[in-house]
């Protein structure tokens, strides 16, 4: 038996192409900015106020500005065009790339699989995440652990920066780590580990409570993913502008 013969790829009359297009444009812009900043290798540390951009934290190799290396410099200077962030970026990028939300976003926007619901995808074959390379998406859990460690580092940076007084930069760093923390906590893997994997919530009241809280955040995972991503860029931009002395930090105390 055959399916109904309907030639049109979709009969949707709304602007279904708009969300994937916006997503695509947004992700592209941010990638370009992030790539540029990564390979710029400069303006990531404001010595006067101890602002370190999250993109360069932790700064672990020998070419780092020494004061920005809060955890020492266990790595030698990186060869060629490589810059300090390349050490941590695989983890950050890995976390976001394997994130369940971002997967949805780029499968739809970049790979058109599917571009929107009930709109035919252009690919002849589809195996989803059943085989290499996409099967590696299952490693999200481990990226979550790594990202959680990096988040702690960012929080540490933020706290350190308060040692010099209080400026707009401090507040920006604070909002940034809050958003990052909310995003990381709202992660589906986190939800699973916090309590989702249990069969009997009633036997683990504390973990049930944690699961309920994480679930609330998890409802907003998409919003947090975007908010934290955009805000990381803005934070970085702010630090870069202050570090390059294009603008000066607005100070409240000291």
């Amino acid at each position: 038996m055959a399916r109904a013969q309907i030639a049109a790829r979709t009969l949707r009359t709304d602007r279904w192409w708009l969300p994937p297009l916006t997503t695509f444009a947004g992700l592209l812009l941010i990638s370009i900015y992030a790539a540029f900043r990564t390979f710029q290798g400069d303006f990531y540390w404001v010595d006067q106020y101890h602002y370190l951009t999250p993109m360069y934290s932790p700064c672990l190799s020998e070419e780092c500005v020494p004061a920005a290396s809060h955890f020492g410099q266990p790595l030698p200077a990186l060869p060629g065009f490589l810059t300090p962030p390349v050490v941590i970026i695989p983890f950050l990028l890995g976390f976001r790339i394997t994130c369940y939300y971002y997967r949805k976003a780029y499968y739809r926007a970049a790979w058109a699989s599917p571009p929107a619901c009930a709109v035919a995808e252009p690919h002849a074959k589809y195996t989803g995440e059943t085989r290499f390379p996409l099967i590696a998406q299952n490693l999200h859990r481990y990226f979550f652990y790594a990202a959680s460690i990096l988040l702690c580092v960012n929080i540490y940076d933020t706290v350190l920066a308060f040692g010099t007084g209080l400026g707009l930069g401090n507040l920006i760093l604070l909002v940034n780590v809050s958003l990052l923390a909310a995003y990381t906590l709202s992660c589906h893997s986190c939800r699973h580990i916090a309590g989702g994997r249990l069969k009997h919530f009633s036997k683990h009241p504390v973990r049930y409570w944690m699961w309920t809280q994480v679930s609330k955040l998890n409802n907003r995972h998409m919003q947090l993913a975007w908010a934290s991503l955009i805000f990381v860029c803005l934070t970085d931009l702010y630090v870069a502008l202050v570090a390059s002395e294009t603008i000066s930090d607005l100070r409240f105390i000291n």
């Binding site: 038996m1 109904a4 009969l11 619901c117 893997s189 069969k199 009997h200 998890n218």
Partner: protein, 249 residues
């Protein structure tokens, strides 16, 4: 309050068919199914449509309205402009029988492949004790009215007929999750989900959740938690290494 609405309805069967134009009266408060019924009563007595409760409870009247998978009885006419031409087509993913009626037996076949609830052997009827917080997750999935709109929308089978063999679709992966989270089920569901029901095909693009008339969070609450359980078991390198080293199966 009534007006003449313009409709295009797919008519035909597995040998072919196409969209036919109709002009039908539309009254205040009506839903698309009312219009289809008026068509049957006045212009096309043999127009085939499947329905039952007309209250969004049975999941019979699934079709596509302006290209979007929906229940005909829960799609109010007031969401459209009066001048708009409304296109009504059968679900695309399943073989056509006639007009708006499709052959949904794929779903019944898949349902049969999910091993049933396995209660603990030592509990007699009446002795079951479960806490509300423990049953709530599975209860959400049991709200499913089996309209199969999610199955219809999921691109894994909608765009790839050949995947029907390996992939049970969101409805039945959710059934596996329901049993996995059932406080008294004793069977192991995790490997089943991945190996027998094709959980890996799902790329969590959430169209199933988008169309579900019961607003079940299929992806967030069933599919992703199942993927996480599979990750616990299959992709945990430490477990994997342990299994390799000590030849556990």
């Amino acid at each position: 309050m009534s007006y003449q609405g313009k409709f295009r309805v797919w008519r035909g069967d597995d040998s072919g068919g196409g969209l036919e134009d109709f002009t039908v009266e539309v009254n205040e408060g009506e839903v698309v199914l009312d219009i289809i019924h008026r068509l049957q009563a006045t212009q096309a007595p043999d127009l085939a449509v499947r329905w039952n409760c007309k209250a969004g409870k049975c999941g019979s009247c699934s079709a596509e309205v302006n290209g979007r998978p929906r229940l005909l009885c829960m799609t109010r006419m007031s969401i459209f402009e009066e001048a708009e031409t409304i296109t009504v087509t059968p679900m695309r993913t399943f073989p056509i029988i006639r007009d708006l009626v499709t052959d949904v037996s794929f779903n019944y076949t898949k349902a049969r492949e999910v091993p049933s609830f396995q209660p603990p052997k030592d509990l007699a009827p009446g002795e079951y004790r479960m806490q509300q917080v423990d049953v709530e997750r599975s209860q959400e999935f049991r709200k499913c009215i089996e309209c199969f709109l999610c199955q219809n929308t999921c691109h894994v089978v909608r765009d790839h007929e050949e995947n029907k063999e390996a992939f049970s679709g969101p409805r039945f992966l959710m059934r596996v999750a329901e049993l996995e989270m059932h406080p008294l089920d004793t069977a192991d569901r995790v490997d089943q989900a991945q190996d027998d029901h094709g959980l890996g095909y799902c790329n969590i693009t959430k169209c199933c959740s988008e169309v579900c008339p019961e607003h079940i969070h299929i992806t967030d609450n069933a599919l992703i938690p199942m993927k996480e359980r599979v990750a616990d078991r299959k992709y945990d390198p430490i477990v994997w290494l342990g299994n390799k080293l000590f030849r556990r199966s």
